[in-house]
């Protein structure tokens, strides 16, 4: 019963919040409802016994990602209402509705197989007397998924470099569009920096 109530509360709330995110004309509302929806999703993760995932969701999404978005919003000065021209709203909703319908139809069928064995069962560390989602996650993450984990680290490095370069000052001059010789250009850039 507890699960039932919690699920429906979370589900309905996230749906409404995300709808606001998608529908709202105001970036601030949109972003706030997105953040709130994500918090509620972490609740769903806790319900599903994925404690660590829930925590990560809170920290990374609500903490980091939303902070980035907030910063961007300020940069773009997008607090005021955004004017969007919508040519065919009806069609969009029809498409979205159709998509949702297909998912509902699809997921109404039983997806879980009877004879499927869990490859990395929850409670890996149980026999050691220490149970807990975080430890299990740690165990799997640093054995089986060590390679993807490291690649993800590279990916984050790439993202960092990309962010630094793209938002960097050097992008303000375009060597690509400038006919001046290299020497002149260097001088010019130096002057500008001083």
């Amino acid at each position: 019963m507890y699960e039932f109530v919690a699920f429906y509360i979370f589900a309905i709330a996230t749906t409404i919040l995300f709808l606001i995110t998608v529908m709202s004309k105001n970036v601030l509302y949109s972003m706030t409802s997105l953040a709130a929806g994500m918090v509620l999703i972490s609740g769903l993760f806790f319900l599903l016994g994925a404690d660590f995932l829930g925590v990560v969701q809170l920290i990374v999404y609500v903490g980091a990602v939303m902070a980035l978005y907030a910063f961007a919003m300020m940069f773009f000065d997008a607090t005021k209402d955004v004017k969007e021209k919508h040519g065919n709203s009806a069609l969009v909703f029809l498409l979205g509705g159709l998509m949702a319908l297909v998912f509902v139809v699809m997921f109404s069928a039983p997806i879980i197989g009877e004879n499927i064995q869990a490859l990395y069962p929850v409670g890996l560390a149980e026999n050691l007397g220490a149970s807990g989602n975080s430890q299990d996650v740690g165990l799997v993450l640093f054995t089986k998924y060590l390679v993807p984990f490291e690649v993800a680290a590279v990916m984050l490095l790439v993202a960092m470099i990309a962010g630094i370069i793209l938002a960097g000052k050097k992008m303000d001059y375009s060597l690509t569009e400038c006919e001046a010789s290299d020497e002149e250009l260097k001088q010019e850039i130096k002057k500008e920096e001083v």
Binding site: M1, E3, F4, F7, T14, T15, T21, V22, V27, M31, G37, M38, I41, L44, F45, L48, G49, A50, L53, Q57, V60, Y61, V65, Y69, A72, F75, F76, A78, V82, E84, K85, H86, V92, G96, G97, M99, A100, V104, F107, I112, L119, Y120, P121, V122, L124, D136, V137, V140, K144, Y145, P148, A152, M155, L156, V158, A159, G163, L166, A167, D172
Partner: protein
């Protein structure tokens, strides 16, 4: 009343579709990115739910990596947005359409 995996998956599907609508509907790039975040979050629910019902950790793992990817995408995406805003002075998709045909 038992909440089965079907409930979670249907929720996931609905949220995914909401994100999808957002992607189709939004003309403001920043808000469009919000919509993609919703889609990824919806998928995370599906993974967590399936993993839970199999008693398997792989689903959670995928969800972790999706979160990592989402974070990286935000970094790159915002970098692009900033530079685009500098050049075009707008984030409206219809303005950014010099290449066509």
């Amino acid at each position: 009343m038992e909440i089965g995996i079907g409930h979670y998956l249907i929720l996931s599907g609905i949220l995914f579709s909401i994100g999808f609508v957002g992607v189709l509907r939004r003309k403001n790039l920043l808000m469009l990115f919000f919509a993609t975040e919703i889609m990824l979050n919806a998928v995370n629910i599906a993974f967590a739910a399936i993993g839970n019902y199999y008693g398997d950790l792989s689903g959670q793992m995928f969800a972790f990596f999706i979160i990592a990817v989402a974070a990286s995408e935000v970094a790159v995406g915002l970098g692009l947005l900033i530079i685009l805003y500098k050049k075009y002075g707008s984030l409206d998709l219809d303005v950014i359409s010099t290449m066509k045909g």
